[in-house]
Amino acid sequence: MSDESHEAVHRHEVPTSFIRKYIFSLDHKVIGIQYIILALTAVVVGLTMSVLMRLNLSWPGTHWPILATLFPTGAPGGIMNPDFYLSLVTMHGTIMVFFVLTTAPQGGFGNYFLPIQIGAEDMAFPFLNMMSFWVTLVGFIVILAAIFVEGNSTIANSAVGLWLGGGSGATVGPIGGWTGYAPLSAVGAAAGPGQGAGMNLWIVSIAIFCIGSLLGALNFITTLLNMRTRGMTLMRMPLTCWAWFTTAVLALLSFPVLLGGGILLLLDRTVGTSFFIPGGLVFGSSVLTTHTGGSPILWQHLFWFFGHPEVYIAILPGMGATSHILSTFARKPIFGYRAMVFAIFAIGLLGFFVWGHHMFISGMSPYSAMTFSILTLSIGVPSAVKTFNWLGTLWGARIRFTTPMLFAIGFVSLFVAGGITGLVLGQTSLDLPMHDTYFVPAHFHLVMGVASIFGMFAATYFWFPKMFGRMMSERLGKIHFWLTFVGVYCIFVPMHTMGMVGMPRRYANFGEYRFLDSIHPLVVFVSIAAIITALVQLVFYFNLIWSVFKGKKAGDNPWEATTLEWNTSSPPPHDNFAGVLPVVYHGPYEFAVPGAPNDYVMQTDPRGSEAPVAEGTGGNGHNGHKH
């Protein structure tokens, strides 16, 4: 590294006790790993649920002795109850969207690498950062409790269960899908199983999650604006930082809306207000006299105003990681850096004005539907620009096919495959037959589910050496990639055709519908692919754990990359740069520079550039630590 004058960094002392170091740590790196562990735990729960759903869908009526043992009320005799199935749908969606796709990319990798990549020694508010994780963890515990409060009649009918809003029969959790449409979710146990105490906990969990995410977003934005090191202009930041920043802005502006909506829903359920519940509802011949005049559509507007930006909260960090990794292993500068930054911004901005495309068939104004449709298809433009730029980056490259690179290429492929069917769903008229069929889960699983996760797999393989000082096994990584890549195509592409035939979502059983008979072979095929793909993930988990202890030792910069995280030791010291903050002279992706000694020039390499600033004019956000 250069030996320009640097200011010594003296932030919080290195903690010595185990609890301060690893549990209630203020260190963004530890918090990042805590978030990743939370996501790795939550994803096991979510994935197991999806496998259980596939068992029920493709082999209805089959006795699964293991289900009978594990869920005596939800699957008596090993055959799944429809309410059990629907609560799996709800919990799978909620856990995956909130506790996996929002935590790992942003809270996990963002927390760990954003401060290092901009040359800061920590987040702006380490205490808030720690709170953000612990609040999120409480949210996760509450959502797990929602399953057991409702599913276990002993708990549901106990004082605790009744205090929480009463149980309602033999399910294993709330029923409402991850969208929780009112009034089903608002009127309580009258609407059937899955609408009792568990639904209250579901809402509370999401509200808690909102608060945790807001604390995180506040930290990300302030850190990025305030703590960039010397020479790190906005346009020299790695694209990952742009993605995390935009994601934080989206979270900052969308989670409060969900929080507000959640409070209204909870009030409707618990104190008898009528925000979302219209008058004159009839359940089992008795009129619900306690509510009048509420609007079910209002919930949908509030939910989707959050829900659509949430999609981008899940995928933008994956896009950032993909850009970063593609450029590194293409050994070539990213193609169109500025266009990439503008595209991220355009996606984030437009993401706030398209929520209505989830509501074309809801009964909202058909005129606003047309506006939403045009804005929705406009979002395809920056998305396509990103794809073109990724291809442009690979054009004329010298690709090193490491595991992270394979996953990054897989991300591009899956992002195209999943994103492009948005052109169908975003059209007002074509949504009419497609809405709420399997075409929709196929679309969003590929793009916001699988593509995002591929981005995170790429990030894991790429940054693991930095985080733990050891390489992950390339051989296992490649096995993991090939099987997963083929597997997810086999799972989600056939779902599109199921949707065209007309298969509705959230059905526990299709046996009664003749028009769906022809798709049964596809359903079985998808289930087998899903089960195999889920099992393949064990290879990944094994690789992770094995590599932490036994992986090949990694140097400081095993990938010959250029950004600041490769400028410090692996793993980085407590204050990231051992007391000397780096100074930045270049953009983030200077590969294959003609005349340079190596095919990569680190951001801190002063050669080939004028000095960033004259001595003493400052420009560094950390001079507070000077003494």
Binding site: P193, L406, V416, P433
Partner: protein
């Protein structure tokens, strides 16, 4: 490695695209007058999507195949991009995507911006957890008054029809929706409890039934027969069992049916359900 990846990407692309060309899995044949335009728009969109998808994947495979690492002395092209290319592909995709969105509006407009013609056949729909109720005006062509307070499932009064209202005398309520062949139908959609969704795949539209709202839709069915009707919005435990049928009847058969009182109506509908088979689906 690069070649293997390219080949896998190409195989997956071929497999994905061909799945849409196997006629085995496609929409059921449409029976509504707006469906032809909608199917055309779908075909156009899916062709654009297919071409874009294939082009992107083939391109990805190509660069992955061609530009692999060739040792330390052979460097990549040093380029930060090209503003001209950025402008070109931004404009081209914007034109195509927004063009598609605009073209897709015409079917939507025909369904939502035109009022149902005056001679439309009227049906009031009241959905409830897990049952469809279709309310027909009967001989007089006037719907009787309904009131949620009168709802009594045990007395089979699912929609709260007020028997004291003279207009209600000849009204009929049934779980099967019967519509005329070739004449516009207007449905007035209501829900008793939670949100449901009216979904007959052959009609090519969906519409939510939202409690507290009266939502009107209209369509014209142009092939007689029996079709399955499903609920397409999660409405609770037995959502998947909220099934019924739609009968599209020639005008004379419909008129003969509509003058029948409730009990004979039910018997006749049972006969008609037996008379008309479901469409033949690919197996």
């Amino acid at each position: 490695m690069g070649r293997a990846l390219a080949v896998i990407i190409w195989i997956l692309t071929l497999g994905s695209v061909s799945l849409f060309f196997v006629k085995k899995w496609w929409f059921p044949e449409a029976i509504s007058s707006h469906a032809a335009a909608l199917d055309r728009q779908f075909l156009l969109t899916i062709i654009v999507v297919g071409i874009a998808f294939t082009a992107a994947q083939v391109g990805l495979g190509y660069v992955v195949w061609k530009y692999r690492d060739r040792g330390p002395n052979d460097r990549a092209t040093y380029s930060h991009g090209s503003n001209r290319l950025e402008v070109i592909w931004t404009v081209v995709t914007a034109v195509i995507f927004i063009g598609l969105a605009v073209m897709g509006q015409s079917v939507w407009a025909s369904l939502h911006f035109n009022k149902a013609p005056a001679n439309s056949f009227q049906v009031e729909v009241v959905a409830q957890q897990f049952q469809w109720n279709f309310h027909y005006a009967g001989k007089d062509g006037v719907f009787g008054r309904t009131d949620p307070n009168l709802i009594d499932d045990s007395a089979l009064n699912y929609i709260g029809l007020d028997q004291a209202d003279p207009n209600a005398k000849d009204d009929v309520v049934h779980s099967v929706v019967v519509v005329p062949l070739g004449r516009p139908v207007e449905l007035t959609l209501r829900s008793r409890d939670v949100i449901h969704n009216f979904w007959v795949p052959q009609l090519r539209f969906k519409q939510d039934l939202v409690p507290g709202m009266n939502i009107h839709v209209h369509f014209t069915a142009n092939r007689a027969g029996k079709y399955e009707l499903a609920c397409a919005e999660l409405c609770g435990q037995f959502h998947f069992r909220m099934k019924s049928y739609m009968l599209v009847l020639p005008e004379d058969e419909l008129q003969a049916l509509m003058v029948l009182p409730q009990d004979q109506f039910q018997a006749r509908v049972t006969e008609l359900l037996a008379k008309y088979p479901l469409p033949v689906y690919e197996q």
